[in-house]
Amino acid sequence: MSDGVSRLGVAAWLRAFAAAVAEEREHLTELDAAIGDADHGSNMDRGMRAVLGKLEGLGAAGGPGAPDGPAAPPQGDGGAADVGSLLKTVGMTLVSTVGGAAGPLYGTLFLEMGKAAGRDPGAEGPAADRPAGEGRAAQGAAAEGAELALPRWAAAFAAGVEGVRARGKAELGDKTMVDALAPAAEALRAAAAAGLHLAEALRLAAAAAEQGMKATTPLVARKGRASYLGARSAGHQDPGATSSWLLLRAAAEALAGDEGEARPGAPP
């Protein structure tokens, strides 16, 4: 069994995230209405619908029977050559369709992930954390752009989160997306260092994101529109951290069983 993330896996992840955003659209907007400008759900939904359009023709549609897939020729960048370029396409799509603050932030997350996924891990620090045998295999596979093993995936995700942090100039505890994303990145890194399997690592990352999201409730916002409310922003869960948790939860659901298109995304 391959224990890595392919571009088909990324597509399955994004489809799961799009479904979660569509389902939680009103909830996200309600959270945003309390401390922001009441458009996070609709903005993210618009963006993820655009991403779904870009995924057309790319592998399984995420459900049973999917291998037959749409017969139509790939649209947009459905034929993206590897994980990195697919992630970058997703990033640019979100940047140009979501708007507001979430557009650049989610866009940057995927753009930076895509850049990191395409880099030679041998040239970077995080590679040292990787079990040697698996690392070599991952490097070989990644060179063909086929699949990213957990250590490389964790490093790419960490690069994405670092991009979000830099773009929003937000730190942990500012009551933002970072409060869900950063603990997830750390959980992935630790899981990779401990040599855990992908499925377990993603489950731990989702759990860390959920905890981080819940921890935003008592915080006073220091960034974004919510910060204008000062102390009145406390007592509300951050909408950005909530959508970020949905992203990590979708990864745990969709990527855990990733073996290309063979397994129709069974929940853990």
Binding site: M92, G99, G100, G103, T108, R222, S227
Partner: protein, 333 residues
């Protein structure tokens, strides 16, 4: 909701089509991505000045595109920042080879979207400087908030920087002037009613018939306090006091005073406000040597007004007086 629109989701697009139809002689309007450029763009050898933001603040920014002011404007959805691809396309369309200034109002989304656009433009070899306007004294500026909002001073910065660029000044100088305007300009607004966003269909916030929101933002963000409606005299005292003590403006200063309508307030009332303002400032020994009265940075249909004061020196006054020829502001041309 009573509005002159067809479908709420088409309002921005159809308004842009209207702008294109009305001003085909001087503007070019592009869609997907949306941006407006002056008809003769790019002007070779001239610094280009680009701004943008959510729609709903008209004439800001599209109405200020033309010789002597903006080279391009990027309208987002109502009260939603434009996206980087829009800003990048506009930047490329007007770049005249000597750099582009982005004038950005200080809202989290605007700042990040313009930042990304500037990075993309630099990757394509275009020199970009960005200046963020944050002049709203109603908002406390601290390390722990997103900072002050950008409001009325934006109009003045666009005019003054546009004039400097038209005179052939280099990017560093035009950007420096923009920072100088921001450093010397202060604003505050007051709302008598909420605005209604077309897609929302109902007022953004509730305000009682006898209440006013002091320190309102241009998207209906709450201000400093809600209090009973006062006379024009009292309203001006509140706004002017907050503005004057913030910079602070001092006896002997010469200022440009902008009395701005929020979209739903008649000019008759704005002149009543201006009259009170000039009298009050005169009493403080502050001379209003330039003024602008009208609706220039609006909040859809909100009834309300804002006051902006900009401390002038001879250089800024001369740039303010320079010719401008845009749908929203025109003199000397």
């Amino acid at each position: 909701m009573k509005k002159f629109i067809n479908r709420p989701e088409d309002a921005v697009k159809e308004s842009l089509e209207g702008v294109a139809a009305a001003h085909a002689d001087r503007l070019r309007v592009f869609t997907a991505p949306d941006y407006i450029v002056r008809a003769d763009a790019p002007v070779p050898g001239k610094v280009a000045v680009v701004s943008g933001g959510g729609s709903g603040h008209e004439p800001l920014h599209g109405g200020f595109v033309g010789p002597g002011m903006l080279d391009a404007a990027c309208p987002g959805e109502v009260f939603t920042s434009p996206t980087p691809d829009q800003v990048l396309a506009a930047t490329k369309a007007v770049a005249g080879g000597v750099g582009v200034l982005h004038i950005v109002k200080n809202y989290t989304g605007d700042v990040m979207n313009f930042e990304m656009a500037a990075e993309l433009a630099r990757n394509e070899g275009i020199e970009v400087e960005a200046v963020v306007i944050d002049d709203d004294v109603a908002v406390k500026d601290s390390l722990y908030t997103a900072g002050r909002r950008g409001v009325g001073t934006t109009v003045l910065a666009e005019k003054i920087c546009g004039a400097a660029a038209e005179q052939g000044r280099p990017l560093a100088e035009v950007a420096g002037l923009c920072r100088k305007v921001n450093a010397n300009g202060r604003s505050m607004g007051i709302a008598l009613t909420s605005c209604t966003v077309p897609m929302a269909g109902r007022p953004t916030f509730d305000l009682g018939p006898d209440e006013m929101e002091v320190g309102i933002g241009i998207h209906g963000e709450p201000g400093r306090e809600r209090r009973p409606v006062g006379s024009a005299h009292e309203v001006v005292e509140v706004l002017a006091a907050a503005i004057v003590e913030d910079l602070p403006f001092a006896r002997g200063d010469e200022v440009l005073a902008l009395v701005n309508g929020m979209g739903g307030t008649p000019l008759l009332e704005l002149y009543v406000v201006y009259n009170e303002l000039q009298r009050l400032l005169g009493g403080l020994g502050i001379a209003v040597t330039r003024n602008l009265v009208g609706s220039y940075i609006t909040s859809l249909d909100m009834a309300g007004c804002s006051i902006t004061l900009l401390r002038l020196d001879d250089a800024l006054a001369a740039l303010w007086d320079a010719p401008v020829n845009t749908p929203g502001l025109r003199w000397g041309a």
